[in-house]
Every structure is written in C-alpha cells, then in structure tokens.
Symmetry: C2
Subunit: 105 residues, 2 copies
C-alpha cells in the first residue's frame, strides 16, 4: 500500500530549514557567500526592505548558531561566514538553480 | 576594497527561500519526496506538532504555487509533488547533508 510507512522528516533537516528559511536569513547567507565578509551597513544595503532592527536580530541568531563571526572594527562591525556557514554553498546553489528554473516568468 | 560592490540576492532565490522556508513547508516537501503521494492524514502523521488547520493552509499554498497536485479520492484527498516540486530534491538533499554535518550533537 502506497505511503503505508510514512517517514518523518529528519529533525536535523527540519531544524536547518527553520533556521535558513527564517524570513531574510537565506538572503543574508547568500549575500555573504557571494561577497565575502561585510559590514552591517553593506548587508543592509544588499538586502533591501529589511529594517536595521530585524537585520541585527538575524545576525545575532546566525552568530549564536555558529554560522557567522562578528568582528568589532575601529568603525563599525564586520560579519563573516564561518566554515559551517560557507558549507551552505551547495544547498544555496541548488535552491537558486531551482528558483531560476521554476520561478522565472 | 572588500565588499565595495555588494551583490543583492537574486529575487527568485529570495522567493524560493521564503516559500520553502515557511514554517513546516520544507518538512512537508521532504516527506513527499521520500514517500511519494500521501493522503492528508499521512502527512499529518509524518509531520508531528503541526495542526490540521496549518497543514491545510500549507498544502493549499503548495498547490497554488504549483508544487503539489491535490486529488479527491472516494475517501479523503491525496497530495503528490509536481515535476516542479520533485525538482527540489537536489536542494533538499544538500540541506539535509549540511544539517547532518553541522547540527548533530
């Protein structure tokens, strides 16, 4: 019988989707992957329609989860992906390719 | 100067992250990818902690966006991924692999 034994999704995968899928987080990770380390202002410019308050919240969460490092500079703050964050490149690349195949007009 | 030209994330990719990353949607897609077509009840069992109301909303959204088809059966309703939905397999596989590498204790 089809679907008689239904596999639950891997809880680690579910956690990953919830983390990266949070509003704006996927976009922030993509910008850091493409451009390299960035200051807060530069991320804010690259991801428009995102308030500073929400961006700060997202960056704090990415730092807490170990995906980015935060370095205080003489002026401002710089964020960079950790090895864990950079390792998302394959997933981001696949999702971007899917989006281009299916979401373009 | 590092980061002087900051690429904005592809809007199609952003749309894809927002779509798949919506709470529970990534898990629902993963279950359908792994198991094949499923009835509403079976999806509800496979993705615990998700209310019927919210699951119905997510399935409606996936149907509207063209990722699943909805077929009325004599008893109940069956959902199946479309070609567009199945084509997410590579992205889901990469994200699952990342989750296993980095989110396991």
């Amino acid at each position: 019988m089809r679907g008689a034994t239904t596999a639950s999704p891997c809880p680690l995968y579910h956690d990953a989707v919830e983390l990266i899928g949070r509003r704006w987080t996927g976009a922030i990770v993509a910008v850091l992957l493409e451009t390299g380390p960035l200051r807060f202002r530069q991320i804010a410019q690259a991801v428009p329609d995102l308030s500073d308050r929400l961006l700060a919240e997202r960056m704090r969460e990415l730092e807490t989860r170990g995906l980015v490092t935060r370095t205080e500079l003489e002026v401002g703050v710089e964020y960079a992906l950790t090895e864990m964050g950079r390792d998302l490149e394959a997933a981001v690349t696949e999702l971007r390719a899917w989006a281009r195949r299916w979401l373009a007009r």
